[in-house]
């Protein structure tokens, strides 16, 4: 198959970028895979991309930041989408042209606004796969309304957890759209796993409020009071840094808690630790939890919607604690800090249990999903016309609606926009 991923910015750092790189790299073993990055702001990607995956960008901000069309608000990319401010008439045009000319069997959108582009602008010959890396419940009502209309025109919608797939099936009427959970994958680590003897607790991610690093610091104060030889290292950068620094100082933890900045690859950092920690209020998947487990670390996490509870088995390969509860988080960390034997046993279980998120099983599922969806549409892939006698009804109601959209694109867009209000 020829598979194209449409990504917001392949040159930045984040969970969606990491997981897209992982999936694309694993698919590239057997398929022709490219990543189309809508935006580009630097020479090379921050994360490492498999050399067989081609990468191209549509708008190079290093030269086109001041393009007149880039100053005008996007019309196709929905204004209800979080990233609307970074999109423009220029991105509308470039994404539209890219999709019109695309030479792929499968095009995969990786965020709601790009899925809308896919739904409205991708030609009939390609399989339209929308990926949701956030959750339906976390989308605000305006965006949900836009997506409810647009997503009917997708062939496949994937979420990263079963809980979120259920949510889409229950709350959105998407007749004929195949909705399935496709977890993020994490590459097989190269380094030998952590042996559990380290005295470092590690957290990683963007320093943004929802990740609740403040809670981790509060919880770690309890660990330090009893075990002053333990460190907490927080990897990542973001808006919360100054606030977290102030918290570390207030609590007198500057000898034990360190804001390390961003590190790639994280693998070499995880193996220095012996416990991973995540305190998010909301974690659609929990990529760093799987990364830590694949390096042999048990992870103490909040049981927030939806990812951690589908990754960690409480008391076996990690711990789940109620969100927002620093005392519970601190107690769970202390349990593992105090008990070397239990920590090592749970680290071993984490290593084994996280293998289900290896590229192998996840890619096999993605391949099967794409192939079955292509077959269900009545085409065998790129360049194969739909056999006569297989009517549109096989391809769901969305198919006809899609043609309608293209016939009267502006009208349809108006409808979509109205739906937002």
């Amino acid at each position: 198959m020829k598979i194209s991923f449409l990504l917001h910015n392949a040159y930045a750092i984040g969970g969606t970028i990491a997981t897209t790189f992982n999936l694309a790299g694993a698919l590239a073993q057997r398929h022709d895979v490219e990543i189309v990055s809508v935006l580009r702001n630097r020479e090379r990607p921050s994360l490492t991309l498999h050399p067989r995956v081609r990468l191209r960008a549509l708008v190079d901000l290093r030269h086109e930041e001041d393009h007149p069309l880039h100053g005008r608000p996007a019309k196709v990319f929905p204004s209800a989408e979080y990233r609307h401010g970074q999109y423009s008439e220029l991105t509308d045009q470039r994404i539209g042209a890219c999709l019109q000319d695309i030479d792929a069997d499968v095009v995969v959108g990786t965020r709601p606004g790009l899925n809308v582009h896919l739904a409205l602008q991708a030609p009939d010959r390609v399989l339209r796969v929308g990926q949701e890396h956030l959750t339906l419940d976390n989308h605000h009502a305006g965006l949900r309304t836009v997506l409810r209309r647009a997503y009917r025109r997708l062939d496949v919608l994937t979420t990263v957890t079963r809980a979120d797939a259920d949510s889409y099936r229950r709350k959105m009427r998407l007749p004929g759209v195949r909705v399935e959970a496709l977890p993020n994958s994490v590459p097989d680590p190269t380094l030998s796993p952590a042996d559990g003897t380290g005295r470092i607790v590690i957290a990683a991610g963007r320093l943004v409020p929802v990740k609740r690093y403040d809670l981790i610091i509060d919880a770690f104060a309890r660990v330090v009071a009893e075990h002053p030889d333990w460190q907490l290292r927080i990897y990542g950068r973001g808006e919360e840094k100054a606030g977290l620094r102030a918290r570390i100082e207030q609590l007198g933890l500057w000898n034990n808690v360190f804001l390390m900045g961003a590190a790639t690859p994280m693998e070499a950092e995880w193996v220095k630790g012996s416990i991973g920690v995540c305190a998010s209020d909301f974690e659609p998947f929990g990529m760093t939890i799987v990364e830590a487990m694949r390096c042999g670390l048990p992870v103490v996490s909040t049981d927030c919607p939806y990812g951690p509870g589908e990754i960690i088995e409480d008391g076996v390969d990690g711990r789940l604690v109620p969100p927002g509860d620093a005392a519970a988080l601190g107690a769970a960390l202390l349990d593992l800090v105090r008990d070397d034997e239990r920590r090592r046993r749970m680290g071993g279980a984490a290593l084994a249990d996280a293998r289900r998120f290896a590229p192998g099983p996840v890619v096999a599922q993605a391949e099967r999903l794409f192939q079955e969806a292509i077959e269900a549409r009545g085409g065998a892939g790129h360049g194969t016309p739909a056999p006569a006698g297989l009517p549109h009804t096989l391809r769901t109601g969305g198919y006809a609606a899609r043609d309608l959209v293209r016939a009267a694109a502006s009208g349809a867009l108006r409808t979509v926009r109205k739906g937002r209000r």
Binding site: L49, L55, T190, N255, V271, K272
Partner: protein, 267 residues
């Protein structure tokens, strides 16, 4: 993607560093370490290692033995793909430096030599080397009541009963403050510096470098933190600032991981 060469490396507790990289179609490749010269000076010191095939096709490895120690500084890593090839700067792959994390807990003899593989600000592979006759490894720094108490562990030197911690004004070797050093548990020592003794009468900005003097008349030992896995801690090991009169005082690690105390005007 780029075809820039990228090397994995692993550091062990004894100072050995192992490099691994893939070089399709290389003949007798070598790995070159070059001590970064001071700005405007020519490069003088290099160390060349043979890269040996490691079995897999195109995979090569080299070992930097602990002896002789590297001269102190930053050693940039290059690869030469063949006898007449131009050198190419190496990018870092996986840097497995976990063995260094607990380095502060092992006693060292003189000279104290350390290497930490790290990624430069512009994204290349380099080795940070320290080589000192003696070294004083800083541990926890308690800050309270307008004073700091530093926990420190000497390596390659023995402290006498008359040992002192000495702070010397940067740019003025004759302005010093000294305070007694007290033994603590596990072979560590502590000393307490009252910030009031560091601020200038006119509230001006100044920096104090921190040393130990093991005995009267003995050479000074720089206090720093170089025995773990972090080649650069200026941005991560950050200490609170305290206002003393019209000045703000805070200890910090320099770009060389040495401990200094910065005094700036308040407000």
């Amino acid at each position: 993607m780029s075809t820039e060469p990228r090397a994995d490396c692993r550091a062990d507790t004894g100072g050995e560093v192992t490099f691994r990289l893939r070089l399709p179609s290389a003949t007798h490749p070598r790995l070159l370490l070059a001590l970064r010269p001071k700005k405007g000076r020519p490069e003088q010191k290099t160390r060349t290692l043979d890269l040996e095939p490691t079995g897999d096709d195109g995979a090569f490895g080299a070992v930097l033995e602990p002896e002789p120690p590297l001269e102190e500084g930053r050693w940039d890593a290059y690869v030469l793909r063949g006898p007449d090839a131009e050198r190419e700067r190496l990018r870092p792959g996986l840097r497995d430096v976990r063995a260094l994390v607990d380095g502060g807990s092992r006693d060292r003899s003189s000279p104290v030599a350390v290497r930490v593989p790290y990624t430069t600000l512009d994204g290349f592979l380099s080795l940070r080397a320290w080589r000192r006759t003696a070294h004083a490894e800083a541990g926890a720094i308690a800050i309270a009541d307008g004073a700091m108490t530093v926990r420190v562990r000497p390596h390659g030197a023995t402290l006498s009963a008359a040992a002192v911690a000495l702070l010397r004004l940067r740019g003025d070797k004759d302005t010093v403050r000294d305070v007694p050093v007290r033994p603590a548990e596990d072979g560590d020592f502590t000393f307490t510096v009252d910030y009031g003794a560091l601020v200038a009468e006119n509230g001006g900005a100044r920096v104090w470098n921190v040393f130990l003097r093991p005995a009267p008349g003995a050479p000074l030992i720089r206090v720093g933190r170089i025995l773990d896995d972090l080649a650069d801690r200026k941005g991560s090991f950050v200490y609170p600032q305290v206002t003393v009169g019209g000045s703000v005082v805070r200890p910090y690690y320099t770009v060389d991981n040495d401990l200094s105390v910065e005094v700036t005007a308040a407000g």
